[in-house]
């Protein structure tokens, strides 16, 4: 497949506007500005584009809701918080292809009749901040941003807003709170951001990778775009693979590429010819899979049928040397640290899960601890304010579901069998 999102990134100057324009950049923008906003949304619908931030929500539907709201100004927020452990797919776009994102946001802004855009960038990406600010300045200079974009009378202003180290700010309503200068704690829905979002105005939040699809999508048209990848879930997808494979890294492939092929063909298989033990397919919050369950197409529609989720497309591969009790414990340390504290089941539950997992890991587990973990997780699931708490509970449930004997052995032997 030709590279669309990671096009030209081997070029050391790919972040420069001149290089971007040399390879066809900023040609879709004038085309989009010659269309009606409604027509753009229609193309996005034909393309079947789904959000790449984790949930896979249909983009055209979200945009239609925001467009239908009579309030102005409207805001377009790019979610560049990329905090889901294992995920590093947006970073190459932000650092190497910032103009693709800027062009995509300007097209999207026009489709939504939004006047202001912000890129909510995680604090842990300081290099990306400088690169984006420079790229935005270049785009203003060339007239691709500003009061009269490309001379077509459309006003769109764009700025970077830097987060400060809080995973929960990736959740879209927490992101809005954080943009407004508050603690990143999720808001109750409804009202949804498409009606009452940033500064109480209609707001669309989309992921970096999602918005970066727009230049190609508009250039080639929705129908042609929909021929890439799986029919229910079209388009290119950036999979980011880490852990015990020969060639970890980012891979732009058709959406729906088989997980087994990603690991064994694209990434060269398990490092050092060791045995595969487990795969987390879509970032730490998505259900873990044992080796006999990885023959599945990696897209939003298919993965749930195989007991997991596409999530952010962050594949974490673990070989036989890994202790899964320890991994589960580390994951819960993360959730406890990142729980925003707003609701009790998550604030308390993540801490309790972490404590019980910690004592099992340290050889002080009790026989009843597995039941205790199940009971805590069961009392969190469906009772938390936002999906972070649910995610934490389901991580524990799925580790136990597939790897219970390892937990039992830990408790019985008061030690780890993997050393």
């Amino acid at each position: 497949m030709e590279k669309i999102l990671l096009k030209n990134i081997e070029n050391p100057n790919s972040a420069d506007i001149a290089e971007y324009m040399k390879t066809g950049g900023y040609q879709s923008l004038p085309k989009a500005l010659g269309m009606q906003p409604k027509e753009i949304i229609e193309e996005v619908k034909k393309a079947g584009l789904r959000g790449r931030g984790g949930a896979g929500f249909p983009v055209a539907m979200k945009w239609t809701f925001a467009s239908a709201d009579p309030k102005f100004p409207k805001y377009l927020l790019c979610n560049a918080d990329e905090g889901e452990p294992g995920t590093f797919k947006d970073r190459p776009i932000l650092e190497k292809n910032p103009h693709l994102l800027i062009e995509g946001m300007t097209i999207s802004g026009f489709a939504l009749r939004a006047e202001y855009g912000y890129i909510y960038l995680r604090g842990e990406y300081p290099a990306a901040k400088d690169i984006l600010n420079k790229a935005i300045a270049q785009a203003y200079e060339k007239g691709f941003l500003g009061d009269n974009v490309a001379g077509k009378g459309f006003k769109f202003h764009l700025a970077v807003h830097q987060g400060a180290g809080a995973y929960i700010c990736g959740e879209e309503t927490a992101l809005i709170e954080s943009l407004e200068g508050d603690k990143g704690q999720p808001r109750i829905k409804p009202p949804f951001p498409v009606n009452v979002g940033a500064f109480a105005k209609p707001t669309v939040v989309n992921n970096v990778e999602t918005l970066s699809n727009l230049p190609y999508l508009i250039g080639t048209g929705g129908e042609a775009y929909a021929k890439i990848g799986s029919p229910e879930c079209p388009g290119p997808k950036i999979y980011c693979v880490s852990g015990h494979v020969e060639k970890p890294g980012v891979y732009e492939l058709p959406m729906g590429t088989n997980l087994k092929d990603i690991i064994y063909s694209h990434c060269g298989g398990i490092k050092g010819g060791k045995k595969l033990k487990a795969v987390i397919p879509g970032g730490i919050s998505t259900p873990i899979l044992p080796p006999d369950k990885i023959d599945c197409a990696m897209d939003f529609v298919n993965m749930p049928k195989h007991g997991s989720m596409l999530g952010s497309g962050a594949v974490i591969v673990m070989d036989e040397s890994v202790c899964l009790v320890k991994v589960c414990y580390r994951a819960l340390k993360f959730f406890e640290h990142e729980s925003c504290g707003k609701c009790t089941p998550c604030r308390e539950g993540t801490g309790w899960l972490r404590k019980v997992l910690g004592r099992i890991e340290n050889g002080q587990g009790m026989e009843s601890d597995i039941d205790l973990l199940q009971s805590i997780a069961g009392n969190m699931l469906g009772k938390t304010f936002c999906p972070l708490g649910d995610g934490a509970a389901s991580v524990v449930q799925n580790f136990i579901k597939h790897f219970r004997p390892e937990f039992e052995a830990h408790i019985k032997n008061k030690a780890c069998s993997t050393g």
């Binding site: 294992g86 590093f88 842990e124 290099a127 400060a164 180290g165 809080a166 603690k183 500064f199 970890p248």
Partner: protein, 154 residues
């Protein structure tokens, strides 16, 4: 107090937002740069420049992990220990920093050169283990490589 340059910067940042409150996160970053950490004086300054009560500036500031609430070493070593880094040896590196540099997680080396902050995922999982020193990424870390890197900052 903020320096004149920092005040100017804040005025420019303020223009990017529809109200002053939204400039709070960037203002706290500026304050951290100006004061070294978010001391009571730093909060005082931010509150008066933005016209936002101190209870709010402090409440917001303490929510976020990247705002520092005690004096830090001259360089901040931010080492990831989340799963992708952990399974490729990040914990050994934590031990190494302790033994070789007297660096405890959350602490500062006796000579004040380095502070160590344990990070959640920093988005460098494909080149794990990884860390940031101040604003620079270092990836595929080994003990030897860490020694070389930290030498540069001394």
């Amino acid at each position: 107090m903020f320096s004149e340059t920092a005040k100017k910067e804040l005025e420019e940042i303020r223009l990017k937002y529809p109200n002053a409150r939204a400039a709070l996160l960037p203002a706290l970053y500026l304050a951290q740069r100006e004061f070294g950490w978010l001391s009571p004086e730093a909060y005082e300054a931010v509150s008066s420049l933005l016209g936002v009560p101190k209870a709010i500036t402090r409440g917001v500031g303490t929510f976020y992990a990247m705002y520092k609430h005690k004096p830090m070493g001259r360089n901040i070593v931010q080492l990831c220990t989340n799963v992708s880094c952990m399974i490729l040896g990040a914990e050994r590196l934590v031990d190494f920093l302790k033994i070789k540099y007297g660096l405890e997680p959350g602490g500062t080396s006796p000579d004040g050169q380095f502070s160590l902050v344990i990070m959640e995922c920093i988005g460098a999982c494909g080149t794990a283990p990884a860390m940031l020193v101040n604003d620079d990424f270092y990836e595929n870390l080994t003990e030897k490589y860490i020694e070389e890197i930290l030498e540069k900052y001394k």
